[in-house]
């Protein structure tokens, strides 16, 4: 049994394979989330994100490979693992006859740790009507309720699967603020967030580290700051349209008259120097946001002439 030391990763996935019939939804994924980090899990629709998360929660059993949450196997130590995490799914489902208050009471009954103050605070902040049935709540309110039940349980790991899809901008902002505020506040350094989302731009500031998954395999795993430093767009304008310009380590993605746009993934400084060697009039570099990194990693950039 792995001892639960301070270095036990919150999530450790090694060569996860999960098959449905003959298709492999997840095909050899490995990643590692250290405790206290905010980890982003990005991928196209059908890339295997939800399948991976379900393997973490023991809703699906891996075909091969191992999944460990805080060093424990979710299949064999189910209750122990689940008492340390909370899950907000993308399709939030409650029993329609229960009121908000009853739903909170119901979910609280499963937990040893439940912070009534946090619950009250968040219910006030989201202005959730305590005596309204969940079937009469809007989609945003249902997601907020799901978030309250997750955070009030004071878990060490918060797993979010497409949490803000379909919500209005105000609810989305409140959601992220609450994750940063109420959730991370409790025990900074021990509160881990694992979020799978398409709305990468919104979670940009929250993410410490991320993995991009495609066709069931990881394509890129990087620290967010490192990624932004490494992936850059370089704009260069020349005095006269350059005939052909091949620069090592960069791809030309846009060419218009005298202006060229390069995409760099790697040593942006060196590439910039190489471009500068061709004496452009101006040269500017701009980092890619995480969403742009996502797009450029998964989609070969077309050269637009």
């Amino acid at each position: 049994m792995t001892p639960m030391t301070a270095e036990t990763p919150a999530i450790e996935i090694v060569n996860l394979v999960r098959r449905y019939g003959r298709t492999e939804a997840v095909n050899g994924l490995s990643l590692r989330v250290e405790p206290g980090r905010c980890y982003g899990f990005f991928g196209r629709n059908g890339a295997g994100k939800t399948t991976t998360i379900k393997c973490l929660l023991n809703l699906l059993k891996p075909t091969r490979g191992s999944v460990r949450v805080f060093g424990r196997d979710p299949a064999r130590h189910e209750v122990e693992v689940k008492s340390r995490l909370a899950y907000v799914p993308d399709q939030v489902a409650f029993y329609p006859w229960m009121t908000v208050a009853q739903t909170l009471e119901y979910f609280a009954s499963f937990r040893d740790r439940w912070n009534r103050d946090t619950e009250r605070l968040l219910v006030d902040r989201f202005q959730l009507p305590l005596d309204r049935r969940t079937s009469h709540l809007s989609k945003g309110q249902r997601t907020e309720l799901a978030l309250v039940t997750a955070i009030a349980a004071e878990p060490d790991l918060l797993v979010l699967d497409e949490p803000t899809s379909g919500l209005d901008p105000i609810v989305r902002r409140e959601f992220i603020r609450t994750v940063i505020g109420a959730y991370q506040e409790g025990a900074p350094g021990r509160r881990t967030v694992f979020v799978s989302t398409h709305l990468i731009a919104e979670f940009e500031g929250l993410i410490d580290e991320f993995t991009i998954i495609d066709h069931g395999r990881e394509v890129l795993t990087l620290d967010a700051d490192t990624a932004r430093a490494r992936y850059q767009k370089i704009y260069a304008r020349f005095a006269s349209p350059p005939a052909s310009l091949a620069v090592e380590g960069a791809q030309i993605v846009h060419r218009q008259g005298r202006e060229l746009q390069f995409l760099v993934s790697g040593d942006a400084g060196a590439v910039k120097a190489r471009i500068a060697a061709h004496s452009p009039e101006t040269i500017e570099a701009e980092a890619l946001t995480l969403e742009e990194i996502f797009v450029s990693t998964l989609q070969a950039p077309e050269v637009r002439a």
Binding site: G36, R37, C38, R173, I176, R177, I180, G181, Q184, E185, P188, G189, E202, E204, G205, L206, I207, D208, A224, D225, R228, A229, Q232, A268, A276, T282, I283, A285, E286, A287, L288, T289, L290
Partner: protein, 134 residues
């Protein structure tokens, strides 16, 4: 103090916060003894990981720009801190190097570069004077 984060700058987020605090201090917008926003509200406002802000504040504190008073929060310190001068000089050297390289790319000659530096110092000094008067 107003923070603006630019994810396109390629600079680590926590460094952007550090730099913006230092810029505010340098221009006089934040004076010694001024309180800084607490970590949690600032993180919520900027929608940034709490640890990032904590790291930024930690860095600022180790550079002597701010200090934490237990129970009260973080405050701007007195700027002059002779014990850490060499560290500060080292940091500035890196920035100056970057500016020099950029000047070369933009084909701005040394004399013009130095004239520009003088002009910028003047401008900051004027702004600080105005801030302390008003």
């Amino acid at each position: 103090m107003v923070f603006e984060l630019n994810y396109k700058s390629g600079k680590p987020v926590y460094l952007q916060v550090v730099d913006q605090v230092k810029a505010a201090v340098a221009s006089g917008a934040a004076r010694p003894g001024d309180p800084l926003p607490s970590i949690r509200p600032l993180a919520e406002d900027l929608r940034v990981n709490r640890n990032t802000i904590a790291k930024a504040y930690g860095e600022l504190e180790s550079q002597g720009v701010i200090e934490t008073v237990v129970g009260k929060g973080c405050f701007v310190t007195d700027q002059a801190s002779p014990l850490r001068k060499d560290a500060r000089t080292r940091l500035l050297t890196a920035e100056v190097d970057a500016a020099v390289v950029q000047a070369h790319h933009l084909q701005i000659a040394r004399a013009e570069f130095l004239r520009l530096a003088e002009e910028r110092f003047e401008s900051f000094a004027k702004r600080r004077a105005r801030a302390s008067q008003g």
